[in-house]
């Protein structure tokens, strides 16, 4: 890949991450690393986003949020798992509330190493994702709507019952 035809926008979601990777993603946007020179903008709206950047691992409460954001994104879309927690659960994989990496829930295209992931490796991961995005675009690929088969129905009921 030598150039980009369009400016890819990213959406970032913190799924039970410790903040370490999150602040490094933010650091990528700031003058020292400045990914905006590649046309990359961090947006808050999934409908505007091409790349889904997730930090941290899947837990009971954020399952539906991750799915919700992923399914709202337009095709073609790419998911990037940033940091070891998003890849496999990392040091927290033995915690009772951690189900594991993001790929337990949604298809992941790029894994970024590190605890916390360094801005350089995050940028490298995003640039790799851009290549995959271009490929998906040229193939006209469309991702299926992902549903969660493991969602604990009982907890779901609790949430609806909520506090009055």
């Amino acid at each position: 890949m030598t150039y980009l035809a369009k400016s890819p926008w990213i959406i970032h979601y913190d799924a039970s991450s410790c903040n370490g990777c999150d602040i490094e993603i933010l650091a990528c946007l700031t003058p020292m690393y400045d990914v905006e020179r590649f046309g990359i903008i961090n947006t808050g709206n999934p409908k505007h986003a091409d790349i889904f950047v997730v930090t941290g691992s899947v837990n009971e409460q954020n399952r539906e949020v991750i799915l919700n954001i992923y399914n709202q994104m337009p095709d073609p879309k790419v998911a990037v798992a940033v940091g070891i927690c998003a890849t496999s659960g990392g040091v927290f994989r033995e915690c009772y509330n951690v189900a594991g990496g993001i790929d337990k829930l949604i298809p992941v295209d790029v894994y970024v190493m590190g605890c916390a992931a360094r801005p350089e490796s995050i940028i490298d991961g995003i640039v790799t994702a851009l290549g995959i995005l271009e490929k998906k675009r040229s193939e006209g690929a469309s991702a299926p709507v992902v549903t969660d088969h493991h969602m604990n129905k009982e907890h779901h009921k609790h949430a609806e019952g909520g506090v009055q």
Binding site: T30, N62, E94, C95
Partner: protein, 359 residues
């Protein structure tokens, strides 16, 4: 009375880097009730003490939060050292103090940036984070990590800083001081920022104290709680005064953090002058048998690590009460009666760190 509607705020929200969910009950534009929902970041890491030895657990304690990382590991090892009766080398105490003040600097600059962004001041956000990179470079040069340092261990620290490097660090901080001054001038004197912050989200002194507010949230309301005054690590040998403001509004909480950065630079300079020579760690044998509430002052306020051991390698219990967790009740009080448009600003002024709060 007008009709009440409920607006969900978060967990994925442009001003929040982290997932916090609030159900805002509104009457017209006024918030009348707030119901927080947490648990999006809950991992249950306190339970890992059953699987990790107390020496290995330092790494987990550090990863409670990536912003307050160093001070979490410091508070944890302090508790272990207290239970085991270890008198650790003084040089290690000073080094811990220096790194914890560096963490505070990086956290406050991070917060000032995010806060500016929440008000729409993108250039100030960029400037804060540009200055923060200077702090992170020093942290990386001395510890090896930018945000997760991994330098604290039971009975000492893993790395030493050479006197030349210490000199260079202090000179570097003095070098960026005028830039920090320019930055804080924007927060303290810019008319549009004052308009956005003054008189918004007022927390009265008694409320702040009774609701259990800590850190800048408490000090902004005139409650002078700063755990550094108890003299843990080397703070007992350093002259400093906690920054206290009395208005209790968003502006006061913002001013606290802006002014604290200069206190931190002073503390680092004093430490660099007073630091004694000697070893930075010692041998440790046995395992903790007893319990202790270890306290430390984080950028967000008082953190408490409760450690209970029974003489085995695995602790019985490690419980962390983080500053954000205890700042939730004051936040609820602050939000009641405010305008919907001020919610992001008020939420950010308690500096919510959800990774900490939910563990």
């Amino acid at each position: 009375m007008s009709k009440q509607i409920t607006i969900p705020f978060g967990p994925q929200h442009p001003v929040l880097p982290e997932p916090l969910h609030l159900d805002l009950v509104l009457e017209d534009e006024k918030v009348v009730d707030v119901i927080p929902t947490i648990g999006y970041v809950h991992r249950g890491l306190e339970k890992l003490v059953e699987k990790r030895e107390y020496t290995e657990y330092v790494f987990i304690a550090e990863r409670i939060c990536g912003i307050c990382s160093f001070i979490h590991s410091q508070a944890y090892v302090q508790g272990i050292e207290q239970i085991m009766g270890l008198e650790i080398p003084e040089r290690a105490q000073y080094l811990r103090t220096i790194w914890s003040e560096y963490s505070r600097l990086h956290s406050h600059l991070l917060w000032l940036g995010c806060f500016a962004d929440s008000m729409g001041f993108e250039s100030v956000f960029m400037n804060s984070w540009r200055l923060r990179e200077h702090i992170l470079n020093d942290l990386e040069a001395t510890t090896g990590g930018r945000v997760i340092q991994g330098v604290c261990k039971v009975a000492g620290v893993r790395r030493d800083i050479t006197p030349e490097k210490l000199d260079e660090m202090v000179k570097g901080l003095r070098g960026i001081e005028h830039e920090l001054q320019d930055l804080t001038n924007v927060f303290l004197h810019d008319s549009s920022i004052q308009h956005r912050l003054k008189g918004i989200g007022v927390l009265k002194k008694e409320d702040a104290y009774q609701l259990g507010a800590v850190g800048p949230t408490a000090r902004g309301s005139g409650v002078a709680i700063d755990i550094r005054e108890t003299g843990y690590a080397a703070f007992g040998k350093i002259n400093f005064r906690p920054v206290v403001e009395h208005d209790g509004d968003c502006y006061a909480r913002c001013a606290i953090r802006a002014k604290e950065m200069f206190t931190s630079i002073d503390i680092i300079e004093q430490c660099a002058k007073k630091i004694p020579d000697g070893p930075v760690d010692m041998k440790v044998t046995g395992a903790p048998d007893g319990e202790y509430f270890s306290r430390a002052e984080q950028p967000r306020g008082e953190v408490i690590h409760y450690i209970k051991g029974n003489g085995k390698k695995n602790l019985l219990r490690h419980r962390v009460r983080t500053p954000t967790f205890t700042n939730i009740p004051p936040l609820i009080t602050l939000l009641k009666g405010c305008d919907l448009a001020d919610v992001p600003v008020i939420v950010l002024t308690i500096d919510p760190c959800i990774g900490c709060a939910e563990r």
